[in-house]
């Protein structure tokens, strides 16, 4: 572990800010550049840095594989759920205005918030799943060599 002191110290200091910036991007998406996709990628980048520096086992402890898979599916469920809810309320797919009939602009606000939440959840989980799949492959290759 002493072989990567600098990387450990710097990533330990930066990861909280990366995660915070992901949240900022997530919620800034309502009224500026940003949104679920970018926020999900930034969140996943923070987790991937953690996995690279501390190890795959530590990453699996923070964000277990089962939770990742549930989150990845949950995001799609939220997205589609909002779409079908608006259809059930008499609108079209993802027609947010019908969520709050008296103030359509409020409904659009909530709808976009929920959909972006779903996108962020799925994107971050899938990114971490991809990283973990590749990292686990490297581990398998290493044990085969040994």
């Amino acid at each position: 572990m002493t072989r990567k002191t600098i990387v450990r110290v710097v990533s330990k200091a930066l990861i909280p800010f990366i995660l915070l910036f992901a949240l900022y991007t997530q919620f800034h998406g309502d009224y500026g550049p940003g949104g679920g996709f970018q926020a999900g990628v930034i969140l996943a980048a923070g987790l991937v840095v953690y996995g690279l520096v501390v190890g795959l086992d530590a990453l699996n402890a923070v964000f277990p594989p089962a939770v990742r898979e549930v989150c990845a599916a949950m995001g799609v469920l939220i997205y589609a759920g909002v779409g079908f809810t608006t259809m059930a309320l008499g609108g079209r797919f993802l027609e947010y205005g019908v969520l709050t009939p008296h103030h359509p602009e409020h409904g659009q606000h909530y709808g976009i918030l929920l959909v972006e939440l779903g996108v962020g959840l799925t994107v971050s989980s899938v990114m971490v799943i991809l990283f973990a799949a590749f990292a686990a492959r490297a581990r398998v290759a290493q044990t085969e060599v040994v």
Partner: protein
């Protein structure tokens, strides 16, 4: 042209020059360590100068926060400039910290992987 805009131009120009130099070095240098030197050092200085150039207008420009505060308009007029400056300084800080660390990590892993540094066109045989 106001002195502020001249300063912006000079900083952006030198920043771009360093980035281009770094890119040329990245393409032309012979091995991983020399390329890292070009890319890492060039990026650190180039990004620093470009962000310093971008910082000038929200700080010292017509509606920059230093100007607004000096004119006695209080924080209300200065707020936007302060937020922009803070964001730029944060970007600068994170680029400097993460760029240099990534450079260090790359060089160290190359060294641990046993990459031998370039020793000249003749391979360092002539002393």
């Amino acid at each position: 042209m106001s002195p502020v805009m001249v300063l912006v131009g000079v900083l952006l120009g030198f920043g771009s020059l360093f980035l281009v130099t770094g890119a040329v070095g990245l393409l032309r240098f012979p091995d991983v360590y020399t390329r890292l030197h070009a890319a890492g050092v060039g990026d650190t200085l180039g990004a620093g100068l470009i962000l310093a150039g971008l910082l000038v207008i929200p700080t010292f420009g017509d509606h920059g926060w230093v100007v607004e505060l000096a004119a006695g308009h209080g924080w209300h007029g200065a707020e936007h400039g302060v937020v922009t400056s803070f964001k730029l300084v944060s970007i600068l800080f994170f680029m400097w910290v993460s760029g240099t660390t990534a450079c260090h990590a790359l060089a160290k892993s190359a060294h641990l992987a046993g990459v031998v540094p370039w020793r000249g066109v003749d391979g360092g045989t002539e002393e």
